[in-house]
């Protein structure tokens, strides 16, 4: 397939960009469509044109129903060989304190039956306090923080819990439309006990004024479902003269395999 063309990366300065007003109108149209048809999607809509990059990257044929078999009923196992406990602290990775609002993000990873997902890998990545990623394709002219990589990993505890010490990421501009800004977010990558539970998502911070404008956040067309992406501020998690605490629980899809330990597993 030598005819494969190399795509040009979307650039923040591309011409002929739609206005926020036009994008917002498109978002509202699609959400009204879903509302009218009584579809309460709990997941992001794959076909969501206000997010321009999705136009050529969503399947147009219906997904094929499949019962999970064999390998799909299992998940890779990760352990202390894979993850250093220090990787859950994003404030100590580069020999100095990163600039920003120090926060803890903690919560539990549960499966679709409400059971904790134990000892499983959680990976996160995020922009720094100025809204800049350490990534060669991020050309946003905000400062790089030499003391911040924005990458963390951990294994969940017996109760499915995880905890990251980090700084609050900043919002940043992107090339989707004119004057487009992403709300501050942290990317999360998750595994369950079955490969069918694999997922990647984004966690947002409560009360962000950019929510209504963001086609990625709004691709979850149901308002109640959207709120599941937003952490809550938890003052009991905040630490005296040290950090602010956010709590965010993640629910994976339900398992298909019947396992022996499940009956006594509700926590």
């Amino acid at each position: 397939m030598s005819e494969v063309v190399i795509e040009e990366q979307e650039a923040p300065t591309r011409g002929n960009l739609e206005s926020q007003h036009e994008i917002t109108a498109e978002i509202e149209d699609l959400q009204r469509q879903d509302e009218r048809s009584g579809v309460h999607r709990t997941q992001s809509r794959l076909d969501f044109a206000p997010y321009r990059s999705s136009i050529l990257r969503h399947p147009t044929k219906a997904l094929e129903h499949a019962d999970p078999e064999g390998i799909e009923l299992w998940s890779p196992v990760f352990g202390t060989r894979d993850v250093d406990p220090l990787e859950a602290d994003l404030t100590i990775q580069r020999g100095g304190e990163p600039i920003g609002e120090r926060i803890r993000i903690t919560g539990r990873v549960l499966d679709g039956d409400g059971r904790p997902v134990r000892g499983q890998l959680v990976e996160i990545w995020q922009a720094n306090a100025a809204g800049r990623y350490i990534h060669k394709r991020d050309q946003h002219p905000a400062p790089i923080d030499p003391h911040f990589t924005g990458v963390g990993r951990t294994l969940t505890g017996d109760d499915g819990s995880y905890s990251f010490l980090t700084i609050k990421p900043g919002p940043y501009p992107w090339g989707n439309h004119r004057n487009a800004w992403r709300p501050a977010h942290v990317h999360f990558s998750l595994f369950g006990r079955e490969f069918t539970q694999r997922m990647i998502t984004q966690m947002y911070f409560p009360g962000d004024p950019l929510f209504a404008l963001d086609p990625i956040y709004q691709s979850v067309t149901d308002p109640k479902a959207r709120e599941r992406l937003v952490a809550s501020y938890d003052h009991d998690l905040s630490e005296h003269e040290f950090l602010l605490g956010y709590r965010w629980d993640i629910v994976l899809t339900g398992e298909h395999a019947t396992r022996m330990e499940q009956e006594s597993d509700h926590a």
Partner: protein, 198 residues
């Protein structure tokens, strides 16, 4: 969307958190050294599984990430840590790679053995990309055992032109080609499992 035809339909638990796009900036976080080599290249039984991830125009997607999950050659599912280490001798059955600038990718792995009676073995694959708002699951079947493929209940349930998108082509001894077409001509079959919503 409600699914009512499966034995898993009785939902009592919490509602799953929405998935979101991986975005363009995951390269410094998720891929790890040796992630594309489930076994060391050149070791006995090693095969190369490669191809392109393309969009609705047939253009290669340069910021896609693929993961493989599979049994070993005897059909055993490995349940051992070590996937994220760079030990070339490990085989955990898990691999991860991001696509190159032209949308191409390549894994080194082994032919998976059978895990379910009466079903053709396959490699489970999950696809992430900027612009793709949630992950997509698919399966990579290898072409060599035509009888097993012909008798596989899932493959048999698919229309002929769709079925072929899940079967890698053999390019040479130990070299297989599997393209992931997110949209358009020859669009890859992606899976919806019970308890999942599109």
């Amino acid at each position: 969307m409600p699914e009512s035809t499966t034995p898993y339909a009785a939902e009592r638990g919490p509602v799953p958190t929405p998935g979101q796009t991986i975005g363009p900036f995951y390269h410094f976080a998720l891929p790890y050294e040796g992630g594309e080599h489930l076994v060391a290249p050149g070791c006995p039984g090693a095969i190369r599984l490669h191809g392109f991830v393309t969009d609705g125009n047939g253009t290669g997607i340069q910021d896609s990430m693929l993961e493989l999950w599979q049994a070993d050659e005897s059909g055993q599912v490995v349940q051992q840590p070590g996937s994220l280490t760079s030990d070339p001798g490990r085989f955990t059955g898990f691999g991860r790679t991001s696509t190159w600038r032209d949308g191409g990718y390549s894994f080194t792995t082994v032919v998976p053995g059978p895990t379910s009676q009466g079903a053709a073995p396959f490699i489970a694959m999950v696809v992430f990309a900027r612009g793709l708002l949630n992950r997509l699951f698919t399966r990579v079947y290898l072409p060599d055992d035509a009888e097993a493929l012909a008798n596989d209940p899932f493959l048999s349930s698919l229309a002929e032109d769709r079925r072929s998108t899940l079967i890698a082509t053999r390019e040479a001894d130990g070299v297989y080609r599997f393209d992931v077409r997110l949209q358009g001509d020859g669009e890859t079959v992606f899976l919806q499992f019970p308890r999942h919503e599109v």
